[in-house]
């Protein structure tokens, strides 16, 4: 090309490429299809081992669509876990007569479940229709069952927390005859919190893995263990912050158990996932989040074990644990979203399992047929 005065109109020349076969070509972020539902550009995965057949795709476009969920949903995953764990702690405290822990855990449960629910509603496309969540009871829909759990837990923690607040304010609230009912219902509400606590903490794992998002789906058998562990350590962490050490013995114990569960559950989970589907857990932001979540979990766990009797060490450990749990939820959440955006994570595991079944002589269950 001759240089001319019009060269200034040209865009900088990227390296030359022969004809675009489509493979790997994609548009810049922010335009066209990518803008719909996907967030910005993401790193190009390097094709790993040679054993995997080179996959083809339609212009590198996603096969499955990531849900339109934003940070609010990840926040709810975290807060729902904290609420569930707090419900269990409050019930335990209720049964073992630890009034401060009971009160604080109940109030924590109500706060987190409340804020979490608001976050969920805010993420709806039509927030004014949030009540439709209770339109049906669908056993096939973890979101439906979860909504009922959430509603039950929210109601019971509301009653229980209201009793605590009333006591806190010296029964000065103008409740009249309701007061007797409220206090009469408190133990049952507390029991309900205990009953629904672990479902609330764990159902979100089922919700995520009951999707076509490759990473979440591949983690389906083990993700609940990670989530309940994470919830346990987070709720304990919060209790260690809110409650004097005198009453947090059980919380500290639960924190340590939670950390142990968390540290075991994740590697086990990853080891049982398709290696390609697990990749997003280790790459980019989710990878960093999950790495730090482990570090903080260890730190919090060790802090609890070694310095749990000190109010400040306990609180710091609690904060570490809370943060760790948040990072776990955000990491897992983002990894799943990311896994939808690159067709490789959908296609390669599917091809592999299809080939494996065929190799095993199981040929009758393919969606592609020759006749």
């Amino acid at each position: 090309m001759t240089a001319s005065e019009f060269d200034s109109y040209r865009p900088p020349e990227p390296p030359r490429r022969r004809r675009g076969s489509g493979k790997g070509r994609r548009r810049a972020a922010g335009s066209g299809w990518l803008r719909r539902g996907a967030e910005g550009a993401r790193e190009m995965p390097v094709v790993p081992d040679a054993e995997v057949e080179p996959y083809s795709s339609y212009y590198g476009r996603p096969v499955v669509k990531a849900p339109p969920w934003k940070k609010e949903v990840a926040t709810y995953l975290f807060l729902g876990g904290v609420a569930g764990g707090s419900g269990l702690l409050a019930f335990g405290a209720q049964l073992t007569d630890r009034p401060v822990l009971r009160r604080n855990a109940r109030l924590s449960a109500l706060t987190t479940v409340g804020v979490g629910s608001l976050a969920l509603v805010a993420d709806l496309g039509r927030p004014e229709r949030f009540l439709n969540m209770l339109r049906t009871i669908k056993p096939t829909s973890p979101m439906s069952l979860g909504s009922w759990v959430l509603a039950g837990f929210g109601t019971s923690s509301g009653i229980a927390a209201a009793g605590e607040v009333d006591r806190l304010l010296g029964e000065r609230l103008p409740l009249g005859p309701i007061r007797a009912v409220l206090h009469g219902a408190e133990p049952a509400a507390g029991a309900m919190m205990g009953l629904l606590g672990s479902p609330l903490a764990g159902y979100t794992a089922v919700l995520l893995s009951d999707t076509a998002m490759p990473t979440w789906n591949a983690a389906r058998g083990d993700l609940p263990f990670l989530f309940v562990s994470s919830a346990a350590l987070a709720a304990s962490g919060l209790a260690m912050i809110t409650t004097p050490v005198e009453e947090t013995g059980p919380a500290q114990a639960l924190a340590v158990l939670g950390v142990a569960g968390d540290l075991v559950a994740e590697p086990v989970m990853v080891s049982r996932m398709d290696p390609v589907a697990a990749e997003p857990l280790h790459r980019g932001t989710p990878g960093q989040l999950l790495t730090w979540s482990k570090r903080l979990a260890i730190a919090g766990g060790v802090g609890t074990l070694l310095g749990g009797r000190n109010r400040w060490v306990a609180a710091a450990s609690g904060a570490a644990l809370l943060t760790s749990s948040a990072l776990t939820r955000f990491g897992v959440f983002q990894a799943g979203i990311n896994s939808a955006k690159d067709p490789r994570y959908t296609i390669e595991p599917q091809r592999r399992r299809l080939e494996a079944r065929r190799a095993a002589g199981q040929t009758g269950d393919s969606i592609t047929t020759a006749v």
């Binding site: 212009y59 829909s141 672990s198 569960g261 020759a370 006749v371």
Partner: protein, 337 residues
């Protein structure tokens, strides 16, 4: 539906419990005769009043400028340019599929034809062209086991009396779970449903304001179906690449067509969604493809996520019990401290 094995399989219309169920309806999209005119895309948008989407820019995928199925595009025509090498690969992968000895579907008489075709294919191999341009109109699969429908918490998604899967836009609250639940990436939440033109003009009143914030996808023209009309895309399709009818008939047509193509030596032809034993129990929209599904942006081995739900619930139950147990333990341990 009298034979034994069929009864064990889900029957979308029968299982839907309507007072007056109809036979299951579906599409058969024969991509081998698609001319890529996109009439289906336009007719669909025009009927359903869906907004145009995108930024009016060339997307960089041959003549495809709508990109993919989504909240606003319920029919999407894919364009794939292939050279000789790729055509040969497709032919070979198809031949392998034939050789696998696929499952018994359909009555045995039909199988006879197909078998004959498969065995004679070797003798009839046609010239491989230097180049081909595949066009294929994609659409919601209306799965027998539909992920979107299963995971919907509100009941906005439902199985119609025609065995199809439809969103009720007056119910949906836009939770987005169905988007993640679809193994084909079909359904999407409509975020910005306004047609914008350079002059910023408003749409005339005949164009209804599109439903925003709710999940949207092909309804197989449920409203038209109620009045015995053909879905807009199938009605307009100039070459009958998109066929519509009772799903049983569509299935039969698909079997017949693939056998015919195999007889002509086109072993690259294959069906997608015709197998009731696949991961979604077969699809209401059956396709005839000329290459591997992923070439068209379709998953090679989709599986409805809820197929594993019982197992996941079991594992989750263990985990939840574990958590409760751990808490109990903690109180015992911590109490002694």
């Amino acid at each position: 539906m009298t034979s034994e094995p069929v009864q064990q399989r889900p029957n979308p219309t029968g299982d839907a419990h309507y007072d007056h169920p109809h036979s299951r309806r579906g599409f058969f999209t024969d991509t081998s005769i698609c001319i890529g005119c996109k009439a289906c895309e336009v007719a669909c948008k025009e009927w359903n009043r869906n907004p145009a989407d995108g930024d009016y820019e060339i997307l960089g995928s041959s003549y495809d400028n709508t990109g993919a199925l989504g909240a606003d595009t319920w029919r999407h025509v894919a364009f794939i340019e292939q050279d000789r090498e790729r055509i040969e690969e497709a032919r070979e992968s198809g031949r392998k599929l034939v050789d696998l000895g696929m499952p018994q579907v359909g009555p045995p008489q039909e199988r006879g034809v197909a078998d004959g075709a498969a065995s004679s294919s070797a003798t009839h191999t046609p010239d491989t062209p230097e180049f081909r341009w595949l066009m294929s109109s994609d659409v919601c699969k209306h799965c027998t086991n539909a992920g979107c429908l299963d995971v919907c918490p509100t009941g906005a998604l439902f199985r119609t009396e025609y065995g199809t899967v439809v969103v009720q836009e007056d119910i949906c609250n836009g939770c987005g779970t169905c988007v993640a639940g679809c193994p084909f990436g079909v359904i999407e939440r409509r975020e910005d449903g306004l047609v914008s033109t350079p002059a910023g003009r408003e749409m005339p009143d005949t164009v209804k304001k599109p439903q925003n914030g709710v999940a949207q996808k092909c309804t197989l023209c449920y409203d038209r179906m109620k009045d015995d009309e053909t879905p807009a895309c199938a009605k307009t399709c100039p070459t009958t690449s998109i066929k519509y009818g009772e799903r049983e008939d569509m299935l039969a047509a698909a079997h017949e067509r693939v056998a015919q193509l195999h007889e002509q030596g086109m072993t690259e032809a294959r069906l997608y969604g015709a197998n009731p034993d696949d991961g979604v129990g077969g699809t209401g929209s059956i396709f005839l493809l000329l290459d591997e599904p992923e070439v068209y942006g379709l998953p090679p081995d989709p599986r409805v996520p809820t197929a594993d739900l019982a197992h996941t619930f079991k594992r989750a139950g263990v985990a939840m019990a574990g958590m409760a147990l751990a808490t109990a333990t903690a109180f015992m341990v911590g109490g002694r401290r």
